[in-house]
């Protein structure tokens, strides 16, 4: 047993972090926010070239041939950097959907009852089967063209400025069946958990940085226990979520993935909340990045596997 990152995994993580810092650092991120850019097609292709989407495709099929643990490291970095776009769906569609692996296609996801993120920019739609994560086995997903679905869809004013949402009618006709093994929902949940982990770790850093720099009452606010203990709680949440997410990536066990999603959702939302509290009034401004983490964390909590469904999976596992 060696439950630590391998040298290759560390190198992979460092590479993605560097790529995102260069291509989607804070200035570009805020510029994209101001411009209302959802998916930047050029960046999407660069992500494709970097193997973001083809990561788990076999090398024989033009992929990188890596596994879920490596994918989790990538999506953790995406969560840290607030990278927008339907990354998970496009990653899951790599292979079956033409162009997804290369970042030529943008693939969004349709999960019944949920608004569709980035429908306006998507080429194709992954339609999840009705498996609800509560023991009902997941049915095979299908693929549809985005354009036809968009015709009967209405844009929603999204709470997350980086994630445009569309409300769609339930799809009447079936799409193309996907030659996958019915694990899309659980894999999606795991990758969303990885994004949440990245966000939770990032807001911890932001809170610590602010607490060390901001002075009130003649001292850095981080020297007051009230602030100090908020930050400590954030680290604990992020680190426990990290172990849950990494282990779930190694085992790919649906129960472990449910636990990872539950803890990572919790860590992302509560850490963003605490980060905002540590930032005080400054955290309440649009200028601050804290709210971008919080809003995305809220959205992700409702996607792929909700807390209620995850808790039922985890309870069912006890018997």
């Amino acid at each position: 047993m060696d439950f630590q990152l391998s040298d290759d995994q560390r190198a992979l993580r460092a590479g993605v972090r560097e790529l995102l810092a260069g291509r989607f650092g804070r200035d570009r991120m805020r510029a994209a926010l101001d411009a209302g850019t959802g998916v930047d097609r050029a960046l999407w292709r660069e992500l494709g070239e970097a193997g973001f989407f083809a990561l788990r495709l076999p090398e024989a099929e033009g992929g990188v041939g890596l596994g879920l643990p490596e994918a989790v490291l990538l999506f953790e970095e995406a969560g840290r950097s607030l990278l927008p776009g339907p990354l998970i769906a496009t990653h899951l569609a790599a292979g079956p959907v033409k162009g997804a692996a290369q970042g030529e296609a943008v693939v969004a996801v349709l999960d019944a009852g949920q608004p569709v993120a980035h429908l306006g920019e998507a080429d194709a739609l992954l339609v999840l089967g009705p498996g609800d994560g509560r023991g009902v086995p997941e049915e095979s997903a299908t693929v549809r063209e985005a354009a036809t679905v968009r015709e009967a869809a209405d844009p929603v004013r999204s709470i997350d400025p980086f994630t445009p949402l569309w409300r769609v009618a339930e799809p009447a006709e079936a799409g193309e069946p996907l030659p996958r093994d019915g694990r899309l929902r659980t894999e999606g949940a795991l990758l969303a958990a990885a994004e949440q982990l990245g966000s939770a770790a990032r807001t911890t850093e932001m809170a610590v940085q602010h607490a060390g720099a901001r002075e009130q009452f003649g001292a850095p606010i981080g020297s007051f226990q009230a602030v100090k203990h908020l930050c400590a709680g954030m680290l604990v949440r992020a680190e426990l979520a990290r172990c849950a997410v990494y282990a779930a990536a190694v085992t790919a066990d649906p129960v472990e993935i449910a636990g990872a999603k539950l803890l990572a959702d919790d860590a992302a939302v509560r850490n963003a909340r605490d980060c905002l509290q540590v930032h005080g009034g400054m955290g309440f401004t649009w200028e601050s990045d804290v709210h971008l983490h919080l809003k995305r964390a809220w959205l992700r909590s409702g996607q792929w596997l909700t807390a209620a469904a995850a808790e039922e999976v985890l309870a069912g596992n006890l018997c």
């Binding site: 060696d2 439950f3 709680g233 282990a247 085992t251 129960v255 472990e256 803890l263 808790e311 309870a315």
Partner: protein
């Protein structure tokens, strides 16, 4: 990220499991909680059995008489013994997990030869005399005085929260040898014989009604200077070196036990019908996520220690674990009370006493408040102070 055990680790596990299957059925009945001589005999017999089978001092360095096992082997050992229902380290705790390692790291050759073998064989029992009534979270405020008198120290003061004091042979004692020095600089580490004149032990009743702990009153107890480990006034460093290097294994058995308890709670809830309450059921599901993750965090910390080699890892990582674990375990027994309903008031029902004992988890061995300070200052680098 590799959760698979190596072939060597799997063999170690298989051997251990086979041995446990042989010896456990032959164990005598467990003594009553207040039968101290019986408990000592039971615990030391188990230690002797471990010694004979080559498992004693598994994590100790070889040159201290240990087996030099890796952190992962130690994790496997603790996991398997807990799973199999083997006796807990019990009365051997301080000797094996604190005083012994301290002597191994800081003692002279003579001290190691005198004290280590009896610990490994289960011949001698140690207890710990660190905490004092006036120095709880603030351990360095300890007041027990040791005054040099020729080749002895004369020790007076009082200690509290001493487990197994009633049956221990030795006590690892922190005393103040230089009252004029800064708090952390005037402390020495002594090995005190428990039958020395002037040592009085008084059982301390906890809110659970039991007497797991004792108070210890020291009235001019004479301790030979040769029983000091490390330099005079260097006792704080001596003991912190041992405390601050752990290998992530501190709570392995406890996490295994919590997961077993959680499954038993689910079974009981199914039996008594409370499983149909989604609030309760989903709460148990959430605890399942907590303890699964705490198990993974344990494996993470152990793997980190394994990579760090013999030095182990700084104990700060342990603060992250302890913070979450102690709260999760308290929540576990609150969930147990929900499952039991009105029966939770019955002390003879399973988990009722555990619920009471669990109240100490956020206090003992560093309160959650102190742990949060450690995490914030030593891991996150926030400024000390206030």
């Amino acid at each position: 990220m590799d959760l698979a055990y190596t072939e060597e680790e799997q063999e170690f596990r298989a051997r251990l499991r086979a041995w446990l299957a042989t010896v456990l059925p032959a164990l005598p009945a467990k003594p009553a909680p207040d039968d101290w001589p019986g408990r000592r005999a039971y615990d030391t017999a188990w230690q002797r059995a471990l010694y004979d089978a080559g498992y004693a001092g598994l994590h100790w360095p070889v040159d201290a008489g240990g087996r030099g096992a890796t952190p992962t082997q130690h994790l496997i050992f603790l996991e398997e013994t807990e799973r199999a229902g083997a006796p807990y380290v019990g009365a051997n705790f301080v000797g094996l997990l604190h005083a012994g390692p301290t002597i191994a790291a800081e003692g002279t050759a003579e001290q190691r030869a005198r004290w280590l073998p009896p610990v490994l064989r289960g011949d001698e029992i140690w207890c710990q005399g660190f905490s004092e009534p006036e120095a709880g979270s603030d351990l360095a405020a300890l007041r027990t005085r040791a005054v040099r008198d020729g080749d002895h120290y004369v020790v007076s003061g009082s200690k509290i929260w001493t487990s197994h004091a009633e049956v221990a042979d030795w006590c690892e004692l922190l005393v103040r040898t230089d009252p004029a020095a800064p708090r952390h600089r005037g402390i020495s580490w002594l090995a005190m014989e428990m039958d020395a004149p002037g040592v009085t032990v008084r059982p301390l009743r906890t809110l659970a009604g039991s007497t797991e702990f004792a108070e210890m009153f020291l009235d001019e107890v004479r301790v030979p200077v040769s029983h000091r480990v490390g330099a005079e006034n260097d006792g704080w460093r001596v003991t912190m070196v041992t405390l601050s290097f752990e290998r992530g294994t501190a709570f392995v058995g406890e996490v295994v036990a919590c997961r077993r308890t959680l499954a038993a709670l689910a079974a009981e809830a199914r039996r008594n019908g409370r499983w149909d309450d989604p609030v309760l059921r989903r709460g148990l599901g959430r605890l399942n996520a907590e303890f699964r993750a705490l198990w993974r965090l344990t494996q993470w910390n152990v793997s980190e220690a394994q990579r760090a080699g013999s030095g182990g890892v700084p104990g700060t990582g342990g603060s992250v674990f302890k913070l979450r674990y102690s709260h999760a375990r308290q929540e576990l027994y609150e969930a147990a009370a929900e499952v039991l309903g009105a029966d939770s008031a019955d002390l003879d029902r399973e988990w009722a006493l555990d619920r009471l004992s669990s109240l100490s988890y956020t206090i003992a061995a560093g309160t959650s408040q102190i742990q949060r300070n450690i995490v914030a200052e030593r891991i996150l680098g926030l400024p000390k102070g206030r």
